[in-house]
């Protein structure tokens, strides 16, 4: 399958990565190459095969619904690019 620049732009948008218009044709070509490689998978007969979710057939265990850690506001915010008054600060989201 060949990926056009419009699709490449849409994927970049979905991935929240800014790609300049001028770079979209090269990106589309790369996607086309990689997807061409991936398309070999169409040769495989997968009828009746369940998609694998986990290599180890185990049920995820549960823990008791109890507080295990808390009161770590300073540690949680320690690496934030912009933290104010105990919160993460971001540009305005709602007018």
């Amino acid at each position: 399958m060949s990926i056009d620049t419009k699709t490449a732009g849409r994927v970049a948008k979905l991935a929240r990565i800014k790609v300049e218009e001028a770079d979209l044709p090269a990106l589309a070509q790369e996607f086309t190459n990689i997807l061409g490689f991936i398309e070999q998978l169409n040769e495989v007969d997968v009828d009746g095969v369940e998609p694998m979710t986990s290599v180890t057939p185990q049920r995820l265990y549960r823990r008791s619904d109890a507080v295990t850690a808390g009161d770590q506001q300073a540690a949680v915010l320690a690496n934030a690019p912009d933290a104010r008054e105990g919160f993460f600060a971001v540009p305005m989201v709602v007018e």
């Binding site: 990565i17 190459n33 998978l41 495989v44 180890t56 690496n79 690019p81 993460f88 305005m92």
Partner: protein, 494 residues
């Protein structure tokens, strides 16, 4: 004094217990070797203060007679492991300045066992790469050098492999999503094991593809791999995929007796363009295992060919989800915004500036294969093929095979920059023999086997049954003894 760095983990452990050296002395010698290895660009974050204090504590434990195997041994830590208060960047600009407020389970286990961290190690950005060329710190360099070319140590654990092969530390942690422990170990003439998925906790390891990622040791030999893997392994309630199984004494499994074991040779692992030296080493390896009393037989793993394309759907898909957290809000880099930029511009500019080209490519490929309309055609199909790849292995194990012998990589290390103009898919082909093991969740180990016609190391891989790392290590130990590989690189960087 620098002879101390020639020791194995086992040798240094025994020397410490016998009082022939101290953890402080080992740490100083290691730190000096690290400082003298700048041309290799293997160490990227200095932890010498931590190392000195850990070494002192280790000496006290040894003196008190409370010394686990790893106590006092200088190791390097891949930059993918979160280390409390120490820069952890996964070799990415997007984690610039990130200092975790917590310790990864694996590094904590190693520290609890007394290991001494002499530095953080270079790697491919977010472990995405096979040559260490996608790192924000620049390329790590292979200590092996046979002509004017500067060679890749492999990837993604390139810094780990370079550091251990250069004998600047005694061992290092690695992680392996598609071959990132075994391929660099093979390229640098040392040993690396990826355990069964779920053997080591993934908690605190920067995530790439969660269903494939596993930590493991990169060491000088199989005995060291056994010692260090044991210290890294074990159930962790903080990783829901960690397996609640006891950790055996792996070193005790190294008996050198493999009589009656069945070793499979998969015909699908013979690929076009494989160097003659590799072909020869592979058949010598077969003969050595036979001479040791194993039954060697041809087997078939029919879906091998589809492992790489399945991997390059599943790994990017999981990466696109895992890397969604890098949004410039909670940690790491945030782009400078212009007037009028809203939160979407902040995400888009931050991620464009913070992620390198290969990471961007994989995040976007992952986004595409998970997007509406393509989810079934790509992602679900890849997961079905993955189930068939695992079944290939289940079938041969059910037929009595104990381990599978293959080459580790299709060739020896290539020159840094040589693949710069290659299509990304050509670079992916270096993982052709290792990636099946991650897809099936199996343990795999690479041991150095010999040199190619240029004088560069080549590795052989053994793949084992799930949860039977002890048996696998014993087979690898037997092969290692027969191969007798002891070549080391010249220390041209000093």
């Amino acid at each position: 004094m620098s002879d101390l760095m020639k020791l194995t983990l086992a040798g240094a452990r025994d020397a410490l217990r016998a009082g022939e050296t101290t953890a402080v002395e080992l740490a100083e010698v290691s730190l000096a070797a690290v400082a003298a290895s700048k041309p290799l660009n293997s160490f990227v974050h200095d932890t010498s203060e931590i190392a000195r204090s850990q070494a002192k504590a280790a000496d006290a434990r040894i003196h008190a007679g409370d010394a686990p195997d790893m106590c006092g041994l200088p190791i390097g830590m891949k930059d993918l492991f979160c280390t409390k208060g120490v820069a952890t960047q996964a070799a990415s600009a997007i984690l610039d300045g990130f200092k975790p407020q917590y310790e990864s389970t694996v590094s904590q286990k190693l520290f609890d066992a007394g290991a001494v961290m002499v530095g953080k190690l270079n790697m491919d950005e977010f472990a995405m790469g096979s040559s260490n060329e996608t790192s924000v710190y620049g390329d790590a360099v292979n200590p092996w050098k046979v002509d004017e070319r500067v060679l890749t140590p492999g990837g993604s654990s390139g810094g780990s492999a370079a550091a251990v092969a250069a004998e600047t530390c005694l061992a290092a942690t690695g992680t392996d999503t598609g071959g990132s422990i075994r391929q660099p170990a093979a390229f640098t003439g040392i040993t690396g094991i990826k355990p069964t998925y779920g053997r080591c906790s993934r908690w605190g390891i920067v995530a790439f593809a969660s269903s494939l990622d596993q930590a493991g040791p990169i060491t000088k030999d199989v005995r060291d791999a056994a010692i260090m893997l044991e210290a890294m392994s074990g159930f962790d309630a903080k990783d829901s995929t960690s397996m609640n199984l006891p950790v055996p004494n792996f070193e005790a499994a190294l008996t050198g007796d493999i009589r009656g074991k069945t070793i499979g040779i998969p015909k699908e692992y013979r690929v076009d363009g494989m160097p003659d030296a590799l072909e020869t080493l592979w058949s010598e390896g077969r003969q050595m295992l036979r001479d040791a009393g194993a039954v060697v037989k041809d087997i078939s793993l029919p879906h091998t060919k589809y492992a790489l394309p399945a991997y390059y759907v599943i790994a990017p898909a999981e990466a696109s989800s895992n890397l969604a957290r890098y949004d410039g809000v909670r940690f790491g880099h945030r782009a400078k915004l212009e007037a009028g930029d809203g939160i979407t511009e902040m995400y888009e500019k931050t991620r464009a500036e913070g992620f390198g080209p290969e990471v961007q490519r994989r995040v976007m490929v992952g986004t595409y294969v998970l997007s509406a309309g393509f989810y079934d055609a790509y992602y679900n199909r890849a997961r079905r093929v993955r189930a068939l790849i695992k079944k290939d292995f289940d079938d041969v194990f059910a037929a009595g095979v104990d381990a599978i012998l293959t080459p580790s990589t299709p060739s020896a290390a290539f020159g840094l920059g040589e693949m710069a103009n290659a299509n990304p898919v050509q670079m992916y082909l270096f993982d052709v023999f290792t990636v099946t093991v991650n897809l099936a969740g199996l343990p795999g180990i690479s041991v150095p086997a010999g040199l190619d016609s240029q004088g560069l190391p080549l590795g052989l891989q053994l793949i084992g049954r799930p949860w039977e790392e002890g048996d696998l290590l014993n087979t690898a130990f037997t092969l290692e003894q027969a191969l007798g590989f002891n070549a080391k690189p010249n220390q041209w960087w000093r």
